[in-house]
Symmetry: C3
């Protein structure tokens, strides 16, 4: 039984939806040693989120972002939490709707993603601050003697 | 410690929200051997999704589908990803909002679902294509000598 | 390898979004013995849900609730599932959008939450009934000799 846990920081991203599968995988060499398992990815923030969707056409990420802006507008008259800027409260709500964690199967040393699936980092704030911090927890039955 | 992982295909479903608890469970005999554990269910697609909700009255599934259609309309003027049909981009967004994975507790050889909970397959595309592929990963402490 | 599973009931909550991190943790002493692991939290209901978001300012919870009411209004003309009251069908849809489960990393005997993250119980029904039931499943590599 293998357990591995790593906390790491993504590079800073501007507001929008970003494909980060490759950037995340650089931090997860333990996956290669697992025959059957799970990878849990967790974002340590409340105004950015994780999702899993189409990995090929950037217009999908564009449209996801635009539609989230429509579903959760800035400056709604009933918002009380306004002192961190007009993008802040929508960021919290978008994070809840899209989610802050993913669990993905591991099979024979690789993430068992569908052909068109990739990991999205959804940055809901306007800032150009530092990158978001994630914790990845990898567990599973090892290959060969490790089982 | 038991680990089991199976990839399987659901029967083809038309657009809408479908109760699939029984169909999923047919592929998961390993659950019966687990005393305490978790079942992770993952859909290998980006235009269909999984959810957990009311298992009794089909009108709940009808209303969920209708309201998702209102929340994520076809032909929004800002969609750029339009070349796969008007149902495609909304399908991606609905998948992100509802989610592509479930983790459900296992207790004494059974899924520990609430009385009214069932597994939903949300088919967001119009097609009458082939069934959706899922990966189920079952892990836990075995009953009796297996613990 | 440690596995622990506990079913417990939260105190009754009125309609709204509630911070329950402390109340949940009272039921999870097993976490203290885990070096690397995961805590899975599951709600056994279809009209209340779990989320993870800002743990400091109550106005965030207020605004989340208000905006969910806008996203999923009562008495939509296409709802067919109406016989359990006007708050019932929106409660099911809100539960699907926000989710009924959380998985949170465990590190060195504690939940590895971000500084601003807390567990939300989202009560979508008007009732003043009994508290919601949850199942928490804790697993991981033990500290010291337990590993």
């Amino acid at each position: 039984m293998i357990w591995d846990q790593v906390e790491f920081q993504l590079s800073a991203k501007k507001r929008g939806v970003h494909l980060v599968t490759r950037e995340v995988m650089e931090h997860l060499p333990a996956i290669a040693h697992i025959d059957i398992g799970l990878m849990h990815l967790f974002i340590l923030h409340t105004s950015a989120s994780l999702a899993l969707n189409e990995n090929a056409d950037p217009t999908v990420r564009h449209d996801v972002e635009k539609h989230l802006d429509v579903l959760v507008p800035e400056n709604a008259p009933y918002y009380k939490h306004t002192y961190e800027g007009p993008d802040d409260m929508p960021a919290h709500i978008k994070s809840i709707l899209t989610g802050n964690q993913l669990t993905i199967p591991i099979r024979k040393g690789r993430l068992a993603l569908g052909t068109w699936q990739g990991i999205y980092l959804c940055e809901h704030r306007d800032w150009a601050g530092s990158g978001r911090r994630l914790i990845a927890t990898v567990q599973g039955k090892g290959q060969g003697n490790n089982s």
